[in-house]
Amino acid sequence: MTLARHQKRGLIGAALLSLILIAIGVLAAWFGSRYQLRLVYGAYVNLLVVLGLQVFMGNARVTNLSHSAFMGIGAYAAAICVTPAATKAISLPDAPWGLAAFTLDPLTSAIIAIVITAAIAALVGLFIVRMTAIGATIASLAVLVIIHSIFLFRTDIFKGNQAFFGIPQVFSLTSIVVLSVVVVLIARGFRESHWGIQLRASADDETGAAAMGVNVVRLRLVAWVLSGIILALAGIAYAYYLGTISARPFYFNHVFLTLAMLILGGMRTVTGAVLGTFLISFGLEVVRWLETGPVVAGVDLPEALGLSGVVLGLVIVLTMTLRPQGVMGDREIEDIILRR
C-alpha cells in the first residue's frame, strides 16, 4: 500500500506524538512518587477518552456529551467478565443471567467489553448521526443520562454509586503508555484516511459534500463507533488499573473535564487532543492544591471547593471566545516542525 503525502506526514506526526507520550511516561516512572504515578496514569486514561472524543467531534464537528457513559460501559463490561466468580458471589449476590458465575481472562474480557460497547454505540449512533448538529448534541446528553440512570438503577449488576471491587489490577503505567501510542496511531490514521478526509470536508460544507456523493450519515456512524471503541479501551484501562469502579466517575464532571481538554487543545487535530489533555491535567493539579487551602508564602489560603470547576469553565469560555479552534487550530505537530 502506498501512502499519500499527507498520510506520510501523518505518520511522522503520530511518531512524534508517540515519542512525547513515551517520554512523559518514562519521566513519571523515574521521578514520580506512587501518588504522582496514579495521577499520571489518570492523565493517560483521560488522554484515551479525549482521543476517542476527537475521532468523532474533530472529524464530524458534532459535539458529543455521552462519551463518559461509553467509557463506563467498557469499564463495567470488562469488570463483570474479569472479576473472579468468588468475589462476585459476595459483591453481586443478586446478579441476573449468571453474570456472577463465571470468570474470564483479562484479554477475553477486554475483547468482549469492546464488542459490547461498539454494539451499543452502533445502536445509539443510528439515531444520533441522522440529526442536526445541535439535535445530536442534546440527544447525546440524553444518552448520558439514560446510561447513567441504568448504572444507578441496576445495582444488582453495576452496584450503582457503591464500589464495584475485586477487578484484577493487570495494567501498569507501561501498558497505558503503549495503549495510548496505539490509539494515537488509530486516531491519526482515521483522520488522514479517505473516510476521515471526506467526513471533515462534509462538516465544512455539507451540501457540497453531498453533491459529490459523500454519504455523510454513514461516515459519521463509522467515526461514532470507532470513537466508542476507543472510549471502551479507556474504560478498560481505567478498571484494570484501579481495580475498583463506580458509576459516579462516568458522569457529568468527567464529561466537562474531558471536553474542556479537547476544546483547549483544539478538537480538529490529534495533537490538540494530546496537548489539551496534558495542559489541563497538570494545570488542574495546581488548582486542586489551591482548593485545599494551602499556605502560600506565609499566607494561609481558605479552602475553596469549586475553584477547579470555575477554572475549567473559564478555560472553555475563554477558548471559545478568543480562539474557538483551540490552541492547535488546524495544525498537527508535524505542521509546526516540518516545512509544508
Partner: protein, 298 residues
C-alpha cells in the same frame, strides 16, 4: 375516572412547566442560534436570590418572588453582555460550548461562594395547597403553573406579532443582518431576547422552588435538560415547537409514571428519553422544525 383526570392534570402542569422552560431556550435560539446551556443556572440564580431576600430583606413572599424574577432577568442580560456577545455570530457549536462553559462556571461559583448543600426556602410553601375543582383534588401550584404558562404564551404571541421589537425578533430568526439593515440595533434585539428568556427563567424558578423548597448548585440541571429535550422534539428554534414539545414531554412523563411498575421508578427518565428518541427517528429535526430559508446574502 378521578384518577385519570388527576393524571391528566398532572401531565398538563408538568407540560406547562416544561413549555415555560423550553420557551426560554427557544427564544434565544431563534434569534441567535445559541443553545443556552446556562439557562438552568439562571434559574438557580433566582433560587439563591430567594434565599438572600428571605434571609436579609423580608419574608414577604411577593417581594421574594419579584426579587427572584428580576435577578434572573438581569443575570440573563448580563450573561449575554459578558459571555455570549463575543460568540454572537459564531457557529452553533462554538455558542453551545461557550454556554456549557458558562454553566460550569456558575455552578461552581455557587459551590465556591455559597454551599454545596441544599438551602431551604420556606416562603413559597403557601403556594402549594390542595384545592378541589369539579370534584377532583388538584394542587393550587399546578393550577397556578398552568395558568401562568397560558398567560405567557398569550403575552409572547401578542408581543411577537404586534410590537415592532417582537417583529424584529421574528425577522432576526430568519435574517439578522437584514434586520440590522433596517437600522434596528442588534445589541437591543439580543438584549431583549435574553431579557425575555431571563424573565421566563424567573417564572419557572418560582414554580420549581415552590415544589422543591430548596436550592442547590445543580438546581437548574434537570429543568434545563427537560427543556432541551422539549425543544429538540418540538423543533429547535420554533416557539410553537417548544410549547408543543413541553406538553408532549409532560404527557409522556406522566404516562410513564402511571404505566411503569413501582420498582422501575428510577428508570423513568431512561424510558422517557427512549420514547423521545423514537419521536426523533420519525422526525430527526423535531416535529415543527422551522424551515431553513434565507434570502441571498448581500
Amino acid at each position: 375516572m378521578d384518577y385519570a383526570i388527576q393524571q391528566m392534570v398532572n401531565a398538563l402542569s408538568f407540560g406547562a412547566e416544561y413549555a415555560l422552560l423550553a420557551l426560554g431556550l427557544a427564544i434565544v435560539f431563534s434569534v441567535m442560534g445559541l443553545v443556552n446551556f446556562a439557562h438552568g443556572d439562571v434559574i438557580a440564580v433566582g433560587g439563591y436570590t430567594m434565599v438572600a431576600f428571605a434571609a436579609i430583606v423580608t419574608a414577604n413572599p411577593w417581594i421574594v418572588i419579584l426579587g427572584a424574577i428580576v435577578a434572573a432577568a438581569l443575570t440573563s442580560v448580563l450573561l449575554e453582555r459578558v459571555a455570549f456577545r463575543p460568540v454572537r455570530y459564531a457557529d452553533p457549536t462554538t455558542g453551545l460550548l461557550t454556554a456549557f462553559g458558562v454553566s460550569i462556571v456558575l455552578q461552581n461559583l455557587f459551590l465556591l461562594f455559597v454551599s454545596p448543600r441544599p438551602i431551604a426556602v420556606t416562603s413559597l410553601y403557601f403556594m402549594d395547597v390542595p384545592i378541589e375543582m369539579f370534584g377532583v383534588q388538584v394542587s393550587s401550584l399546578q393550577l397556578l403553573e398552568s395558568v401562568t404558562t397560558v398567560l405567557v404564551i398569550v403575552g409572547l404571541t401578542l408581543f411577537l406579532n404586534r410590537s415592532v421589537w417582537g417583529l424584529a425578533m421574528r425577522a432576526a430568526s430568519l435574517d439578522f443582518e437584514m434586520v440590522r439593515l433596517m437600522g434596528i440595533r442588534a445589541n437591543r434585539v439580543f438584549a431583549l431576547a435574553f431579557l425575555i428568556s431571563g424573565l421566563l427563567a424567573g417564572l419557572a424558578c418560582i414554580f420549581i422552588m415552590a415544589r422543591r423548597g430548596s436550592v442547590d448548585p445543580h438546581l437548574g440541571f434537570n429543568p434545563v435538560l427537560k427543556a432541551f429535550v422539549a425543544c429538540v422534539v418540538g423543533g429547535f428554534g420554533s416557539l410553537p415547537g417548544a410549547v408543543l414539545g413541553g406538553f408532549l414531554l409532560g404527557a409522556v412523563e406522566v404516562g410513564m409514571l402511571v404505566l411503569l411498575p413501582q420498582e422501575y421508578g428510577g428508570m423513568k427518565d431512561a424510558f422517557v428519553f427512549g420514547i423521545i428518541a423514537l419521536i426523533l427517528v420519525w422526525r430527526p429535526n423535531g416535529i415543527l422544525s422551522p424551515a431553513v430559508e434565507k434570502g441571498d446574502k448581500l
